[in-house]
């Protein structure tokens, strides 16, 4: 009897490898790499496109085109800073049960993952618009209804709502694993609560803060559904510009925008996870 040259394990592993990589290639890498290819093509729609750097040239030299890219990163950094404070506060409050109905708050902090982002945008428009509770409240207080429609505020709020669960979950996961005895010991030695938080708790939260920041940054850069409802023409972000260009038939320029976003998100991920954590990456 002829002996099969490969063990059953090796064969199984090979088949699995081919199958999984094939599926991954078709459903994940394929579409992304096609976008990269389109961004270097002179004309996709003509079907006779050649290699070109024209679209990147336009993207980085025309203010109307690179403006949305800058807006995207500006909004993203504001949102990351906000989430470092607010997301951490909520995670700490819920995990350490510092508030009433902590479990309910913990569950509700995931709500914007479950709700479609376009609904989030509409909710903001309803709440902060001229006919919403915010305008009524400011009218009651100051005699002047304030509407945030088409302002920077509502855009930042939209990104905050959309990214908020990612920071809460990342920080919360680390908080759950922390040994509270260290904090109790410090407090029993006379340290004030804030001092304990800043010198003992916060340093240990670093992996959660970094992981949360990466997620918040990536999510904010990519945010589309809520943004398209609330953004003004002046503050248009890159995903909106991608949509506009694609709708106008300029797939090449839309692809160039997409590649820039992909590269920035990837670099942010690598830098923040490798350089900052030095092996402390939260999994």
């Amino acid at each position: 009897m002829v002996k099969w040259p490969f063990s059953r394990t090796t064969l199984e592993r090979t088949v699995w490898t081919i199958l999984v990589w094939l599926l991954f290639g078709v459903f994940v890498l394929g579409p992304l790499l096609t976008v990269v290819a389109f961004s270097f093509t002179s004309s996709v729609l003509s079907g006779t496109g050649t290699f070109t750097l024209t679209w990147y040239g336009q993207l980085f030299t025309q203010p109307g085109l690179y403006g949305p890219l800058i807006r995207t990163f500006e909004v993203a950094i504001i949102v990351v800073a906000f989430q470092l404070f607010f997301g951490t506060l909520v995670a700490y409050s819920t995990v350490r049960k510092r508030v009433f109905a902590a479990s309910a708050l913990d569950t509700l902090s995931n709500i914007t993952i479950a709700v479609p982002s376009v609904v989030v945008g509409l909710s903001l428009l309803a709440f902060y618009g001229p006919f919403g509770p915010f305008a009524a409240f400011t009218d009651f207080l100051f005699g002047n209804p304030v509407s945030l429609t088409w302002t920077l505020w509502i855009l930042v709020f939209a990104h905050m709502l959309e990214t908020f669960p990612y920071m809460v979950r990342s920080v919360g996961a680390v908080l759950l694993k922390l040994d509270e005895h260290l904090e109790s010991a410090a407090r029993s030695l006379g340290a004030r609560r804030l001092h304990v938080f800043l010198t003992i708790t916060l340093p240990q939260l670093k992996p959660g803060l970094v992981a949360g920041s990466v997620l918040v940054l990536s999510r904010s850069i990519a945010e589309f559904g809520a943004t398209i409802i609330v953004v003004s023409a002046v503050l248009k972000t890159a995903p909106i510009a991608i949509f506009t260009q694609a709708e106008a038939g300029s797939l090449e320029l839309a692809s160039a925008y997409s590649v820039v976003l992909m590269v920035v998100s990837f670099v942010a991920y690598v830098v923040m996870s490798r350089w900052l954590l030095r092996g402390e990456l939260v999994t």
């Binding site: 807006r71 909004v75 800073a81 429609t149 002046v234 503050l235």
Partner: protein
């Protein structure tokens, strides 16, 4: 000396980033002049008006091109914080309607005395609701193979009736038919399968063979014809009679406009340099003794009947619009 930790450096970088980003975003929001404009004006605005205004006033300008109806609705949900400073539309209907709704301010341009009455709104307290800064005749656009403009009274081929609730082009088409022959309008609608949402899409519909005939703007048709699009045009003919309907591109000043240069921009539109260059972009000047653009229809046309509308009567004009929506 104690070396700052990596964590402290990151926090500092983020803090500086937030400060710089906030300053830039607020600056952009406060200092940018936002124009809501019809796509029909894209080349005129981007090719001439905006670069020259920017050079004179050193201001960032953002132009938003969406249909008139969408822009009006966007303004309505703005409350006291409008996004736009200036509206540039192909008809004054939404400007009159918006003024009645409290969304626009009356104003007076510096050259008011030289502008004919048909190119500005009736007098209201504080000036005028709108001024037309350029115009173009409504034309019958058709495929060159047809030889000449088919008579709209007996049209028997595919028609592109522009969407009357979204586009000003649709408004002009409805008003034309309602004033000349409502029966012919319904006949045109019966031959319509595609309803373009703006004047450019309308002309491209003929060029690409989506329909054989439409009513569009001379300026937009010339723009595409000069680029090689297979379209031709003439004055609309209905029952053997030619008609001249001026499509008036009007400027309105948004109430609560955030940018103080909004009025300067409108005044700029009436400067001799702008008015003298309109024909390069296939439009016509509103100042007396203007000439037709190259390839445009010489006016006045002998025997043609001119139709002007009383835009202040906007609610009556608007009533007929919904019945020209397919499936509406």
């Amino acid at each position: 000396m104690m070396r700052p930790s990596r964590f402290t450096i990151v926090i500092l970088v983020i803090a500086i980033g937030v400060a710089l980003a906030s300053v830039d975003l607020f600056r952009l929001e406060k200092q940018t002049l936002v124009l809501y404009a019809t796509p029909a004006l894209r080349d005129l605005l981007e090719g001439f008006v905006v670069p020259h205004f920017r050079a004179d006033f050193s201001v960032d300008i953002t132009i938003v091109y969406v249909s008139a109806g969408e822009q009006y609705n966007r303004l309505r949900i703005s409350g006291a914080h409008p996004e736009a400073d200036v509206f540039l539309h192909a008809s004054p209907l939404f400007l009159e309607k918006g003024f009645a709704g409290g969304y626009f301010l009356p104003f007076t341009v510096g050259v008011d005395a030289t502008i004919p009455a048909t190119f500005k709104s009736e007098n209201v307290t504080g000036g005028h609701v709108w001024y037309a800064f350029t115009w173009s005749p409504l034309v019958e656009v058709y495929h060159p193979a047809l030889g000449g403009p088919p008579d709209l009274a007996s049209i028997n081929m595919t028609f592109g009736f522009p969407h009357p609730l979204l586009s000003n082009n649709g408004i002009y088409a409805v008003l034309f038919y309602e004033n000349v022959s409502a029966a012919a309008g319904l006949r045109a609608l019966a031959h319509t399968v595609v309803q373009p949402a703006n004047a450019r899409a309308n002309i491209l519909g003929v060029a690409e063979g989506d329909f054989a005939v439409t009513l569009g703007y001379e300026g937009v048709t010339l723009f595409y014809a000069k680029q090689g699009a297979r379209v031709t045009f003439g004055l609309p003919i209905l029952g053997g009679q030619d008609y001249v309907t001026p499509v008036i591109f009007s400027a309105g000043l948004v109430k609560g406009h955030p940018n103080p240069l909004a009025s300067d921009f409108i005044d700029f539109l009436f400067r001799d340099t702008v008015q003298a260059n309109l024909s390069r972009y296939y439009f016509r000047s509103v100042l007396p003794n203007s000439t037709a653009p190259a390839g445009g229809i010489p006016l006045p046309a002998p025997g043609a009947m001119t139709i002007d509308y009383n835009w202040s009567n906007w609610s009556a004009l608007e009533k007929a619009l919904p019945k020209y929506v397919i499936g509406g």
